[in-house]
């Protein structure tokens, strides 16, 4: 087994773990973290593909590396947007549950909610 295959398998494992977390854990912050774990898996896969497609005398195929950097920027902005929404949700309702039947009234003091 060469390094690229090993990295590819690790990427698959990360994606699996992240997908499990995103589907199973009810807390939005955990879901956002799980999204980042999946993202890391996809980026690692890109890295492995870059290594596998390396031309003679080069460390890697530059195209997937360029995609990887763009992907990381996009995932970072997505995380920032999600966390900002989560904070606003906590400010507005005092809880961070995503359940549709959660109380929509605004408890002014989160400690009493």
């Amino acid at each position: 087994m060469n390094a690229a295959t090993l990295f590819g398998l690790s990427a698959t494992a990360l994606i699996g773990v992240g997908l499990f977390g995103l589907l199973v854990s009810p807390h939005p912050l955990r879901k956002i973290l799980a999204f980042n774990v999946i993202g890391s898996g996809v980026f690692l896969l890109l890295g492995a593909i870059a290594r596998r497609g390396a031309a003679l005398g080069m460390g890697g195929d530059p195209v997937p590396q360029a995609l990887l950097i763009t992907g990381i920027v996009v995932a970072f902005s997505a995380t920032a947007l999600a966390v900002a929404l989560l904070l606003r949700l906590f400010d507005a309702t005092g809880s961070v549950t995503l359940a549709a039947d959660a109380p929509t009234a605004v408890p002014t003091d989160p400690d009493n909610a």
Partner: protein, 502 residues
């Protein structure tokens, strides 16, 4: 491959809305609205110019960024499919822009607030991202465009900052992010297998083998989550119904079409030889379930905006009936052009009709102070034009002649008959019957005379009513496209059919 004359227009179509966003961000406040309206006029002119170039040259408009041809460079490409969507989006954005001057206008003397400022910038951002989705010829550029669309669409849901809309926005964002990661994973696998992301080059290289199937499945499921096809539709009704009317119109009419368009690109252009008939049947079955479930749930809604949101869930189903029909025609070695035109026409007539219906619901809410369907009586006296617009939009959703919905369903029905897939015809007709039930329910309630002494909660400017009626008329008269001499959708399409047959 080289850039064609007029190729620079494609760059402008993407760039102008985003320049508008950035300049608007700097100018701030009420200037953002003026700038947005100016950008909308400019963008409409650019779109019309692109359509003119396409029709005149009879071939796809291409622009190579920096003069580099794929696989090294990135190409922008507009064929018939792209151009009809560009035009439809430009028209709907114009209608929404006029309407939003009422809800999100800050005339002189009124203090500037944050919601209108955000709305105008996000409206332009949605437009720019959608244009990029329609013209980009590269799977990774499409990923970036989809993410931009998500980032512009999600804040539209929670413009008013209430807890329930924030919750709906966060749910929408999580669904959309999972969807785009699955899409990206599929694109990465395709790059690993074939070494290119350019749609035209990929279509030549792609072979039916396990990695292609895995990539196709991942990308399709991701895009279905973003399009809200049943059973991944749970995020849509609260998000679309909770947003302000103008924002609901943007989300329901336009934003979901972006990811749907990408499914069309993938299935028809990138991997036509890889898709099997049974996979297309599965996609069609999900669409059929969406039609039945969405319509039945819509009938049971007590609030007008939720009813319209569930109607969107059902109409998304119609958009996916196109795939088994096209696959069936291809398998029978028949021309699938009419079925594709039917699918595109369905998307466009739904975009115009649904924008009009959501904006009509917004006006109804303004006049009544609520949108409970049981208490709609009297609205038709105050807003006759708006209720007519709602009925015309509804007629297009039902598929009454001469509406766009009628012509679209007619094209799809004849494809279903030609390929002997009668079950899709049954679903389409049954769905139309259910749709007519809730449209008539709403219109009948609205036509009842008001109780004595009832006064409207507030008045509605006339131009808002005209913009709603204008969009509804676009949808209702779209069926007259049948009288056009040529089919714009087919211009510049790759000769997929011949390729499949070899």
């Amino acid at each position: 491959m080289t850039s064609t004359p007029g190729g620079l227009l494609l760059v402008l179509a993407v760039l102008v809305p985003f320049v508008g966003v950035l300049v608007g961000l700097v100018l701030g406040g009420r200037n953002a609205q003026r700038l947005a309206l100016l950008t909308i006029v400019l963008g409409l002119a650019i779109t019309i110019a692109i359509a003119g170039t396409l029709v005149q040259s009879g071939a796809a408009v291409v622009y190579l960024l920096g003069g580099w041809a794929p696989p090294l460079g990135v190409a922008l490409r507009a064929d018939g499919l792209s151009v009809v969507m560009l035009l439809a989006v430009a028209v709907v954005i114009c209608g929404i822009g006029v309407y939003a001057c009422g809800d999100f206008g800050t005339p002189r003397g009124k203090p500037e607030t944050r919601a209108p400022f955000t709305f105008w910038l996000l409206l332009l951002a949605v437009w720019g991202s959608l244009n990029l989705v329609f013209v980009s010829g590269d799977l990774f550029t499409l990923y970036v465009a989809l993410e931009l669309l998500t980032f512009a669409g999600v804040p539209l849901v929670c413009l008013d900052g209430r807890g329930e809309t924030l919750r709906a926005a966060l749910r929408y964002l999580l669904f959309a992010l999972l969807g785009s990661l699955l899409y990206l994973l599929g694109a990465v696998l395709l790059y690993g297998a074939y070494g290119t992301l350019d749609i035209a080059l990929l279509a030549e290289a792609i072979r039916p083998e396990p990695i292609t199937w895995a990539a196709a499945a991942l990308m399709t499921v991701g895009l279905l989550a973003k399009t809200a096809l049943f059973p991944l539709h749970m995020w849509l009704p609260p998000a679309h119904a909770g947003a302000p009317a103008a924002a609901s119109a943007v989300l329901s009419a336009l934003v979901i079409k972006g990811s749907w368009f990408l499914v069309v690109r993938l299935w028809l252009d990138v991997m036509p030889g890889v898709i099997t008939l049974s996979a297309a049947q599965l996609l069609g079955a999900l669409g059929a379930t969406a039609i039945l479930v969405g319509n039945v749930v819509a009938l049971r809604q007590a609030r007008l905006k939720l009813l319209i949101a569930y109607s969107t869930v059902a109409q998304i189903g119609y958009l996916f009936l196109m795939f088994p029909l096209v696959a069936g025609l291809n398998a029978a070695q028949l021309d699938s052009g009419d079925a594709i035109s039917g699918g595109m026409l369905q998307a466009i007539s739904h975009a115009t009709a649904k924008a009009a219906m959501f904006m009509a619901a917004g006006l109804v809410y303004k006049v009544l102070g609520h949108d409970r369907i049981a208490d709609l009586r009297g609205v038709a006296q105050v807003l006759p034009m708006t209720i007519v617009a709602f009925a015309l939009g509804g007629a297009s959703l039902i598929g009454l002649p001469p509406s766009g919905g009628f012509f679209a369903k007619w094209l799809l029905l004849s494809a279903a008959v030609t390929t002997a897939q009668w079950w899709w015809a049954v679903v389409m007709l049954g769905g139309g019957l259910l749709t007519s039930a809730y449209v008539f329910l709403v219109v009948m309630r609205a036509m009842q005379p008001a109780v004595d002494g009832w006064v409207p909660a507030s008045s509605v400017p006339r131009y808002q009513q005209w913009s709603v009626l204008g969009l509804a008329l676009c949808s209702f008269l779209l069926g007259l496209a049948a009288l056009l001499p040529g089919d714009v959708v087919q211009i510049g399409r790759p000769a997929v059919l011949q390729w499949v047959l070899q």
